[in-house]
């Protein structure tokens, strides 16, 4: 019961901050713009795809429809979404210390574990809402704007996914993306417990992500050996749900690695927070 109330408090605090809406505003502007640009940019290739594919298959709807538009948009936001997510996660502990509000909050007869869990839960709920909004805008708006139909996936040839199947796979893809962003939030929380200002955790989180992204994407032999141990390697796993057959083992391995990292960062964050002297 107390956890519920504490989480409710944390959500109330998160959504009373203007910074919590930056990501929503950003997506509300940029995604329709991309979808509009996508519509313009694909008009000339649509005919080519249709003529090439129609000799072999019957494709229902436009090949450059809402599904492919959403797929196209999702590919762009590896670096941007973590930054927007870290704005909230990075502030969750450090912001209270910087403002001095922890002095009141932490002196109540509540355990630090409860405070930690409630803040973590609220951050994860925010992340989920954020990713749902992202999904709604990319897929929802994409389908309204560019229509539905079959989805064309170019992976080791051309794969045509029937509309219903494509939708199910998108839900799965958003699920994997949410787990990636939950890990980003956990890293931001980890940094947030260590410092007393909200800027540090955002920079720290982004530094880790950019560094890991470089290791996991630079095609050098020396990096290839360590890539399986870098969490960003699995950030692109959502793409694999559109393969045929779906490589479940690969997906499960990546998912487990992400979850393990998430709990590792949260575990260390809790140890730091529990031992922390609140001096300001």
């Amino acid at each position: 019961m107390i956890l519920l109330k504490l989480t409710q408090n944390e959500l109330y605090k998160i959504f009373s901050l203007i910074r919590s809406y930056i990501g929503f505003v950003f997506f509300t502007i940029i995604i329709p713009l991309i979808l509009w640009g996508y519509g313009l940019g694909t008009t000339h290739i649509q005919g080519q795809i249709e003529s090439a594919v129609s000799e072999m298959f019957f494709v229902e709807g436009s090949p450059t429809n809402g599904f492919t538009a959403a797929y196209f948009v999702m590919n762009f936001f590896y670096v941007h979404i973590p930054f927007l997510i870290a704005l909230v996660g990075g502030d969750i502990f450090a912001g209270e210390q910087a403002n001095g509000t922890f002095r009141i909050y932490a002196t109540r007869p509540i355990s630090r574990l409860s405070i930690f869990i409630s803040k973590t839960l609220a951050t994860m709920i925010y992340t989920l809402i954020f990713m749902l909004y992202f999904g709604l805008l990319t897929l929802g708006l994409g389908l309204i704007w560019h229509g539905g139909g079959d989805m064309l996936v170019f992976h080791q040839g051309i794969l045509i996914l029937e509309g219903g199947d494509a939708m199910r796979r998108f839900i799965l893809a958003y699920g994997f993306s949410f787990m990636n962003m939950a890990l980003v939030s956990a890293i931001a929380i980890f940094f947030s417990t260590m410092v007393r200002n909200a800027i540090g955790p955002v920079i720290g989180t982004m530094a880790i992500i950019i560094f890991s992204l470089m290791i996991s994407t630079i095609p050098l032999e020396v990096f290839k050996n360590i890539q399986p141990y870098v969490f960003t390697t699995y950030f692109t796993n959502w793409e694999k749900v559109f393969y045929d057959p779906i490589p479940w083992i690969d997906l499960l391995r990546g998912f487990s690695f992400i979850v393990a990292n998430l709990f590792m960062f949260l575990g260390i964050a809790f140890i730091i927070f529990r031992r922390k002297d609140i001096l300001s």
Partner: protein, 304 residues
């Protein structure tokens, strides 16, 4: 230590920050129903002790009890206690009422009528819907007191509650503290380096220097033990009073002031002085002891 029931008892609390021994085996007892002043110069360890009690920092050794609940029981020790540590800071983008609601929810004391009653008690009801960022420091301190009273605490711990306030704000907070103690039946433990402030409102005190407790007890006991006190006499005829005092062996360090005469005298000798002066037809309008606590404080400092 006294045998009366204690709201707060500290036993051998110690805390070290790198090279600084902030608390060194501090033991003290705060009687139930008292307004307890915790005094010391800046950096003496007052805030450290309060932060240990408030659960903001962990002590290296020792323990404490609040109304018989031991600190070994974790956060439950603070069940009957509320604190206002240092200056009151709030969620600035939320209103006074919303801040109270959030903080009340932590302990299940977020009923609207209770919040409004406390805001009214602290003179903030009319501004309850205003964002805290529009509040003066004095108003924030009052809101700090209101939030601290929300869980109906039996012990209220205040760390330098008048810091950063102008004289009017300090006066208001002092009045509120007295009002709270009287009307809410709360034991108050407050730290301060303002001796005059403590002398005005506290019934009991403890003094800390360099992390070590130097003295503690009720105000009356402490002053009883003092030898010389500073007294101001307001008399009708200051010339004859001065002549008498200069001849008298009871008073020393005689200084004429604008509207009174300041003397040093043994506490026990004050009644005799008044009798003698009255017998010599020197009319006395008032006899007031001045800066007793300051004198006591400085004498302890000298001993250290």
């Amino acid at each position: 230590m006294s045998n009366s029931p204690a709201a707060l008892e500290c036993h051998g609390l110690s805390k070290r920050f790198k090279t600084i021994q902030a608390l060194d085996n501090v033991s003290l007892q705060v009687p139930v129903g008292s307004i307890f002043g915790f005094l010391g110069p800046n950096g003496a360890g007052k805030s450290t002790l309060i932060r240990v009690i408030a659960g903001l920092i962990k002590s290296d050794a020792g323990h404490f009890t609040i109304f018989d609940k031991s600190s070994h029981s974790g956060h439950k020790v603070r069940q009957h206690m509320s604190t206002l540590v240092d200056r009151a800071d709030f969620y600035k983008n939320l209103s006074a009422f919303q801040n109270m609601k959030i903080l009340g929810r932590l302990t299940g004391h977020d009923q609207e009528d209770q919040i409004n009653r406390l805001l009214d008690l602290l003179g903030l009801y009319e501004r309850r819907k205003d964002k805290v960022k529009t509040f003066s420091q004095g108003m924030k301190q009052r809101l700090g007191l209101a939030q601290a009273l929300l869980p109906n605490p039996k012990l209220l711990v205040l760390d330098e509650p008048t810091t950063g306030l102008d004289p009017q704000g300090m006066h208001e907070i002092r009045d509120f503290i007295l009002k709270i103690a009287r009307e809410q039946n709360v034991t108050i433990f407050l730290s301060s380096h303002l001796l005059h402030e403590v002398e005005l409102i506290c019934s009991d005190i403890a003094l800390i220097f360099n992390g070590k407790l130097a003295a503690q007890g009720s105000m009356s006991t402490i002053f009883q033990d003092m030898e010389d006190v500073s007294v101001e006499l307001e008399v009708e005829n200051s010339e004859s009073a001065l002549k008498y005092l200069e001849k008298s062996k009871l008073a020393s360090d005689i200084k004429p002031l604008a509207n009174a005469i300041s003397i040093e005298i043994q506490h026990q000798a004050i009644p005799e002085l008044i009798r003698d002066m009255s017998a010599k037809n020197i009319n006395i309008f008032s006899v007031s002891q001045r800066n007793r606590l300051e004198k006591f404080f400085l004498s302890l400092m000298d001993k250290k």
